[in-house]
Amino acid sequence: MQNNITLDKLKKGERAIIHSFRSNELPAKFYELGFTPGTTIQLKHIAPLQGPICVNIIQQDSLIAIRKKEANLILITKI
């Protein structure tokens, strides 16, 4: 699908649904904090110069920060 991108490409304010993962290397803590397929997220903040990003996991109303490197392993569909 055309809208399938990795999470690190999402722009501030955009919403997306987590689709799948590019690798099994993602630590289990990511799933525990809510990065599971089908979850709706919104990008809230981006730290400058390739710093971490802050994502709102809409369903559980939480703000989670992760690095771009791991965001690059998460495939999403923009909505």
């Binding site: 289990a28 803590k29 525990e32 809230k44 903040h45 939480s62 703000l63």
Partner: protein, 700 residues
Amino acid sequence: MKRKTIALLGNPNVGKTSLFNRLTKLNQKVGNYPGVTVDKRIGTLKANAKEYRIIDLPGTYTLFPNSLDEEVVFNILSNQANDDFPDLTVVVTEPSSINRGVVLYQQIRELGLPAIFVINMVDEIEQKGLHIDYTALENYLQTKVFKTNARSGDGIDQLIQNFDIELKPYFGAVDLPQKYRNALEDAKQLFPLATEYLTWQYLAQDNISSLPLEKRSALQTIRESHRLDTQELQKDESISRHDTIASDLMSIVAKKENKRLSTTGKIDNLLIHPVLGYIIFFGLLFIIFQAIYSWAGPLMDSIDTLFAFLADSTAAALPEGPLSALVVNGVIAGIGGIVIFLPQIAILFLFISIMEETGYMSRVVFLMDRWLKPFGLNGKSVIPLMSGAACAIPAVMSARNIENPKERLLTILVTPFMTCSARLPIYIVIIGLVIPDDTFWGFNLQGITLFGMYILGILGALLSALVLNKIIKSIRKSFLIFELPTYKAPDWKNVLNTVWEKSSGFLIGAGKIILAISIILWVLGNFGPNDRFSNPQPYIAEANPEFSQDEIDNEITAYKTEYSYLGYLGRGIEPMIRPLGYDWKVGIGLLASFAAREVFVGTMAVVYSLGEEVDIEDEGQRQTLFERMKGEVNRNTGKPTYNFATGISLLLFYAFAMQCMATIGVVKRETGSWKWTLIQTGFMTGLAYLVALVAYQLLK
């Protein structure tokens, strides 16, 4: 009768600590779990005509451990023989993260433990736009659900009344994918008595420290024969559980717009703004350090006065002699040397704990991660590094919540480079001696130098992290994930409790070592091997025939110091420190400083025979010490001992050398390894020697 043990379990930021403080009414103590130094918080509660033991387990999102803290949780809950194994587990959640609380709750029940469910911060239900069907939730969880507000105390009594609740057996289990069935059956053979879910946990974790080695290797064999990857097992459980819970709770917890999050969003637009965020953070840092020095000053003065008074009155009360000298100059001066740092440490931890309580600290981690990552550190290293500016001991301990073992080790190894408050008196003395009290472009040169020393500490920490990062091999990949909690007003009880815990921990932990060392130093400095120490007058008269009786008497203390055991030691290391521009007297100061830096000023005062009680804040006494030190001539070079070159060399040495027994002890405990502790001590001291050597040779 055995007391019932109640364990509090929950995610970070759900107000679990506030609840713990409420339940125990601060009737608690902090110790260590055996083998690891994760804080173990245990309290007692008298209620229902008996006494309960309450354990506040470290915050966690799941039973699968990611860090040392979380490993403790699993080890306690998975082992019935553990002393802290609870009779009842209280799973604590807050309204917006009920789903995540249910994950933990189900894991606990599937392990076979009785548990009740608490929704804390109930006052936020309305604000967060939630509607919860409690009866349905109780039916779903097959337990009692309690609503509490730990800050106001609402619902606490009801919770306590139910601590003896008898729960029906729990039915239900997570849907484990069929592909793991065979492996799980194999693993069950190893643990015939364990519940199926516990066996699954064993199978899905890499290194379970609580299991005997042969079980661990048997598990490894099963994993290999079925080609299992623990990460994948954990992932599959997480996703399966998450999906089921999300659909099950859909009808139980209804959500509307979250007002709280939108306020947090507005604050965040400012506080983690790509430019403003940094300006605000550094502005705040500036204010904190300003506060530390200006607020702590008067407190430190009064502590100093108090100990001077104690010393004087003890000296007056005890008969003169070695015992009185030991008590006054060894014990009281030693304890005074520690207590004097308490105000600075307390103030720093006051700020740090406010930053943590309000949720701002996670924002700092967010802002700083990008700048610390290139050095092999982690955004979470900010907290230890900042605390290191007060004292490395609690700072090293605060590195515990860094998940990646390598980043945690690196953080611990470099934190002692930060300019701790113990370095300050030494810097003040030496800068006062060798840096002119002039202004440069309107700035005081001495002030600039002192500021430079702080920068040097930060550079030392970062650059050595860079070097060590290349050397240390990583076991696990580096990653970062953390929650940014909604902003809250701090719970002042928690803040004060943290400040108290950290300060008293420092006082007792560091205190024991510093006290022991100051007694040893006192003994070494007050006894000598031969006649030159015990009967110095004839020797002084012989060496200086022109001296009058008064002059000889003045010289006695200095002469005795030179021929005490400490003096012999100082002269013993003189060949090593001569290239740095120091003589044996400075050598004594250096040796003494290896116990703790703050001993230096006191030792110098002894060596230059001014008596122990030099108050560096007191203008007159400081001038006397300065005059005396300025007049000193290094008998190797014939130049003043404290000239520009030796001064800079000394400053650099103190900036980098590992000169604190208490820190060495804490690093050993935290890393669990003598190897890394010794590497750190060697690395820091070697670097200090090298830099001081180069500086002196270039400047002399």
